[in-house]
Amino acid sequence: MERLRVTPVSRVGLLLGRALRDIVVRLIQAVILILVALPFGLNIDPEGVLVVLALVALIGLAIASIAYAAALWLRSEDSYAPLIFTATLPLLLLSGVLLPISLAPEWLRTIASSNPLAYAVDAARAVFNGQLDDGSVLKGVLIMSVLALISTFVAARQFGRAIA
């Protein structure tokens, strides 16, 4: 990557170009997953698919920006992977991905309510439930948009500051 830094390519362009690649890949995978699940009885409207894909794109952008910023900040290959893993695992567990949070005890639910990804999951579930106009969909999309914006901004600044 260093050789790219000597070129006039803009730092932000470098970050967003890579992030865009990650997002497109994830969207392709999301579509495949949905297509696989359809014959098994998955029930979803086309607008729902679009909303969900938008969610996946926003999550992807937020996570990719955070990941690249962390990679720059850490600088060493070894500490990067464990850090990312330990940081994302609780996020994942607390977001309601594996099991609905409604089944969890009160104190866990309070912690989960501060996890932005939990709102994304709620939004996704509402979409799949056919409740597109449900408040949680808007909330999820909004929160993820804000998260994506903040993390992209921070990462871009980090990229820009990393060199002269």
Partner: protein, 397 residues
Amino acid sequence: MTAMIETRGLRRTFKSRKGEVEAVAGIDLSVDGGEIFGFLGPNGAGKTTTLRMLATLLAPTAGDAVVAGADLRRESAKVRERIGYVGQTGGADPQVSGRSELHLQCRLYGMNARQSRERADELILMLELESCADRRTDTYSGGQKRRLDIGIGLAHRPRLLFLDEPTTGLDPQARARMWTEVKRLGDDGTTIFLTTHYLEEADALCDRLAIIDHGRIVSAGTPDELKRLVAGDLVTLSVEGDQAAALDVLSGEAFVRESSAEDGLVRLYVDRGEEAMPPILRLLEPLGSSFGRSRSRSPAWTTCSCARPAIRCARRQRDMKLLRDIWLIFGRYFGIFLHNPAWVVIGVLQPALYLLLFAPLLKSVASVPGFPRGGPYNVFVPGLLVQLGMFGASGVG
């Protein structure tokens, strides 16, 4: 004639756990257009750090420099447009072909697709990379990688080229070819700034060179001036001023076997002449010994004044460039991905398996509260999609 590189008091300090390390402790140098300038010194002397600062890869902690007519600190983007850089370790992506790297490099500097293609062909011919140009760079030999790196550095025909230890790690044949290449570039009028720890290389290639040790320039001059002083293992110095003091300072050093002074000359018998020069000169510096002279010139700073319309136009140009850069970088990495479609499948495999294995299990369980519509898939798929968004399959996160 304005110099191609002009520095004043360039410094770089690194913070480590043990405290601060001053890798570069005040460098003043001046390189003219069209010359091949060398930085000679042992490993750790600060050569690479200085070069990286001048190539805008590292910010100086103090000092100023003007590189290729642009101020290093304030106009680093302009500097990057005008310089080429060939680092010690190759920068080419291992998963793409050499031709593709050259093509991307050209496009990053603003050339369109056709120009980039033609320039890539030109470079491949010039650097004799026809046999490997369309193979992945991780299949290249050391010499081929180095030649490709030079091609990448030269893609946009820069006026100034930085070469960091161009022949370290090359076999004698590859090294000889590299020397020919560098000399040819110099003949074509490119200014070259190279670092090396090989005396013969500095001698063979450079019009002028500076010897650097412990972050300071100990002396500068032409290779001939240097050679005149190191004959075998006898080092002869002409010392202005107190020769006795010079002798005292030097004879106490471990690497000086014998020493004598007469007629304004100090003669030293040392273990290895080439290695002895930097420490000798450093020791004599405070005494004012003479060996060539470090050139110092007051730099000419250019001031820039922008009219309002120019700022607006520049801002729009910058936005267009940003979009173009995003597209180019995306294209590069997505291209790699397309060549490895297995990644797509692997990424989807895990959630798909989870889905196919567990969902039927849940079918038999009473319906999950709060999910009136659809079967268990409607419960799991949203969660899996969020998980996909988080982890994907590209190895990020």
